[in-house]
């Protein structure tokens, strides 16, 4: 991973907004198809994961802080591909980044992909909520206020 988080995000935004609405859905489907499965330490302990209540479909996320490095984990069912796609995008951008990079990453990113037209603004709010909660977990783990 060489590109900075902001460069990677800009590149992804350019890919999405340069595509037709239909192609954007195909990109999103690729992220959904490629969302990594949870490692057993989480798949066997779903209670550790935080549910993103703002999404109508059940999606869970968890953040590990390894020193200053953030690792992100998501779980969403196969029958919720849009949510899986959102998770896949965030995972591809944020996993392995520094805590300060993740905390400095604006929730407004979710509005830069041209997805409002392709999936609707209401659905897009779920992606914003995921990012919000993910950042909150990073802050909590930094300050040791949780777990």
């Amino acid at each position: 991973m060489t590109a900075s988080l902001n460069d990677a995000a800009l590149e992804l935004s350019a890919d999405f907004t340069g595509a037709s609405a239909r192609e954007r859905l195909e990109f999103l489907l690729e992220f959904s198809d490629n969302l990594p499965a949870l490692p057993p330490r989480y798949s066997e302990h779903p209670d550790l994961l935080e549910r993103v209540e703002e999404c109508q479909s059940p999606v869970y996320l968890f953040v590990e802080l390894d020193g200053d490095t953030v690792h992100t984990f998501f779980s969403a069912p196969e029958e919720s591909p849009t949510t899986r796609g959102f998770a896949g995008i965030l995972n591809s951008l944020l996993d392995g980044r520094s805590a300060s990079d993740v905390l400095g990453f604006s929730e407004d990113f979710t509005d830069t992909l041209g997805l409002a037209e392709a999936v609707s603004p209401l659905r897009l709010r779920g992606m914003r909520a995921m990012l919000f909660r993910l950042k909150r977990q990073v802050r909590e783990k930094q300050s040791g206020t949780r777990d």
Partner: protein, 301 residues
Amino acid sequence: MPVAFDPQAKFSEYAHPEVLVSVDWLSQNLENSEIVVVESDEDVLLYEVGHIPGAVKIDWHIDLNDPITRNYIDGHAFKALMERSGISRDTTIVVYGDKSNWWAAYALWVFKLFGHEDVRLLDGGRQAWLESGNPVTREVAPVTPGTYPTIERDDSTIRAFRDDVLKHFGNPLLDIRSPQEYSGERTHMPDYPQEGALRGGHIPTAVSVPWARAVNEDQTFKSRSDLDAIYVAEKGLSADQSVIAYCRIGERSSHSWFVLKYLLGFDNVRNYDGSWTEWGNLVGVPIHKGEDAGEVPVLKN
């Protein structure tokens, strides 16, 4: 020539047996050129993951809602949508979707706002099709465009607006949300973003029948006698009453609207699509909190 109905015994008990088809019936009728199969889901990507061969996708956000006004598309947009979906005015439409057909029922309800005659639901929806082992595909089949007239949307018979609800007090209101949403006890955790209504509770006098009570575990509709036991015997509704159903944004209540209108034969049932996201935010209207229905409110002016 109308497409023959599914003669399944379970359907024949309903007030309008012609509005449902079974997975077996649909699998035998997929090649019928007078039928267009429409998938309508909560998740906008599910169709891309795999759909019934030949089905077209119609999305409630993208296709059925007007992007500027909180309302449904007008007759011109509906004509364009139908034609690009391969649907003509005399086409038999079979709708199916995820979540026990919430969005399929919602699409059917919108099609009925435009008076499309022959719209049917696939009993059990997307899940029933998948579990039957019938094929799905990611391939989008080419569509032969339909020919559709420009029809003015009729909001007067099966749709209710907030003013209709205000005038309706004294007649049955049906709240089909979860018991926690109904009572208003559902709260959100501190520091979490919250969407939706400013207040929790229900429209005064509304009775609570969560939508899911109308379906079996396999997402098919319950039998006529089971539905009668809930809506008529338990809740005291009768088919000659005027009923308004609502939920959060009008999708789950489309499902219950379908049950009352077509399966139980209520002639005068309307869906209040503004629902709780409107009523719970509306200035100057009363709500009721708690598990009881509450009294008919005294309205000023």
